[in-house]
Amino acid sequence: MHDILGCLDRPTSGEYYLNGKLVSNLTDGELAKVRNRELGFVFQNFNLLSRSTALENVELPLFYRGMSSSQRRKRAVEALRQVGLEERMHHLPNELSGGQRQRVAIARALVGEPSMILADEPTGNLDSKTGIEIMSIFQELHAKGHTILMVTHDNTIAGYAQRVLEFFDGQIKSEAS
């Protein structure tokens, strides 16, 4: 489900409209563009490039957008500031704690100003305290007007959401707001 919404996979049946646009039958190249412009990903295991610094990781979506390096840098620094990591931006991922890494990932999802941020178990690899930190960042972002779609098995985490869809074996079991 997450993969289809993330435009990483195509539905075997049914249609997917994102921002009123049918995206379920786009070509690979068009999907890549949609992922780049409309979506931001936050993964359970962070998925940062280990050889690149935090700043370079955050710049990456803008890089594939073809933005000039000075503009990229400006926006990436701004995104890192939003997650409170601007003083650690020249560190490599393995020099950062789990919570910090996830914040870099959030900055990376944020930097392209996407229509929707997709978070797949964002707190799954974190202790509960850092998990709460991460969730408060999401809350801040949500307050600023970002749409956030989160997949989780944790009911506490699900409690942060405005709207909860419960899935069981691929079927919607219940819906709550």
Binding site: L8, K33, R35, F41, P61, F63, Y64, R65
Partner: protein
């Protein structure tokens, strides 16, 4: 996306694994260096041979007797044995031609030379003043024959350097009398050594042609006639003209043979070119193997970085972006290899010429060839791994551990 940024990313990826990148590049380095060294040896050999042949004299054409004995019958002689060339033929050529700068008849036999206790067995040439011009021989000491000496068949001799050493050791040979066979002759000059190997002029002596014909050998026949064309451009015309003149004079194409230095030069050049091609070909196999090394490492790299590819794709990298990234990494490897290989090729071929004493010629063509071949190998062997990377499914790639 700017090219130099892709380059920066590629450089970063390669420097993450420096030893591996270096070893991969080594294949290309060795290949390129081998091509450059081998071709430089081949071309050096070519230059050497050409300069040796050219040392025989510029624009040289040689007329030698053919197989048939003139007039006297007695069957077929060995090639060059026919007694057909005389002073009359020389005169005929001198008058009839329009393209020649000089005509120099030559008669020669081997003979024993003596001076006091020393003796040596060497080739004695009966020649005219023109001979030295045609063969481009100069004097180290003394003088050439005078007109009077040529006309009067004087007993004067110009000797080569080896002969001078054999007979006179460190003594000054000028003005001394030596015995050629049983005839006494005064040394009037010593030749500047010229040419090497088969076109050597050091182990021979030169007397006026009349002296040789009348006093030494007792023959009127010539061994050969050397002629010099006015320029490179008229050589073919000169050969045709000589053929015609000789045919008019002797009436039988079997009686004479005309050899053109350019022809020999062409044949030899062709041979060494084949040789160079062969050496270069063998060396380029090394380059090919280097290319396979690049492909191997790039494939490993793609597998290793599957996750990275997945992340990049999730963030919006297109297939083209990924393709470019991996292709440029492969290209960078082969270009770096190319550069270092060219440098190593320079050093190597200099070393070869120093240590082995072979002359080597590094031509820009060989460098360009080796380098562009390296680049082509990089593209060719880089494209498959890059396509493989680009074609990865983003979900599979992201889940890959």
């Amino acid at each position: 996306m700017k090219i130099w940024e892709i380059f920066r990313v590629a450089l970063q990826a390669l420097s993450a694994n420096k030893l591996r990148s270096f070893l991969t590049t080594l294949g290309i380095i060795i290949g390129v260096a081998a091509v450059i060294i081998m071709v430089s040896i081949g071309q050096g050999a070519n230059q050497e041979v050409v300069s040796r042949i050219s040392a025989m004299g510029a624009n040289l054409i040689t007329i030698s007797p053919g197989r048939v004995a003139a007039r006297r019958g007695g069957g077929w002689g060995a090639r060059g044995s026919a007694n057909v060339l005389t002073d009359k033929e020389v005169e005929y050529i001198k008058q009839g031609n329009t393209t020649l700068k000089a005509v120099a008849p030559e008669v020669s036999q081997s003979s024993v030379l003596r001076y006091e206790g020393a003796n040596t067995f060497t080739r004695v040439y009966g020649v005219t003043r023109d001979y030295f011009t045609v063969r481009d021989y100069t004097l180290k000491a003394g003088r050439f024959f005078t007109d009077h000496e040529e006309e009067a068949a004087s007993s004067v001799v110009i000797i080569g350097e080896t002969v001078a050493e054999d007979l006179f050791d460190r003594e000054n040979p000028l003005g001394k009398e030596i015995k050629i066979g049983s005839v006494r002759a005064q040394v009037i000059g010593v030749l500047q050594p010229k040419g090497t190997g088969f076109a050597d002029n050091t182990d021979s002596v030169y007397v006026p042609i009349k002296t040789a014909q009348k006093r030494l050998f007792g023959t009127e026949y010539l061994n050969s006639i050397h002629v010099q064309a006015m320029s490179q451009d008229v050589i073919d015309k000169a050969v045709a003209e000589l053929n015609m003149l000789m045919l008019q004079r002797l009436g039988d194409p079997e009686k004479f043979e005309i050899r053109n230095q350019q022809e020999i030069l062409d044949t030899v050049s062709q041979t060494t070119a084949t040789f160079t091609f062969l050496l270069g070909g063998v060396a380029s196999i090394a380059l090919l193997v280097g290319g396979i090394g690049i492909m191997n490492i790039m494939l490993v790299s793609v597998t290793e970085r599957t996750k990275e590819i997945g992340i990049r794709k999730a963030l919006g990298a297109t297939q083209q972006d990924i393709l470019n990234q991996f292709l440029i990494e492969a290209l960078l490897l082969s270009f770096l290899g190319g550069f270092v290989g060219v440098a190593l090729g320079f050093v190597g071929s200099n070393l070869v010429s120093k240590l082995a004493g072979w002359s080597t010629v590094i031509s820009p063509g060989a460098i360009l060839l080796a380098f562009s071949f390296a680049a082509a190998v990089g593209i060719f062997f880089g494209i498959y791994p890059a396509r493989k990377a680009a074609g990865l499914d983003p979900i599979d790639a992201l889940r890959y551990e």
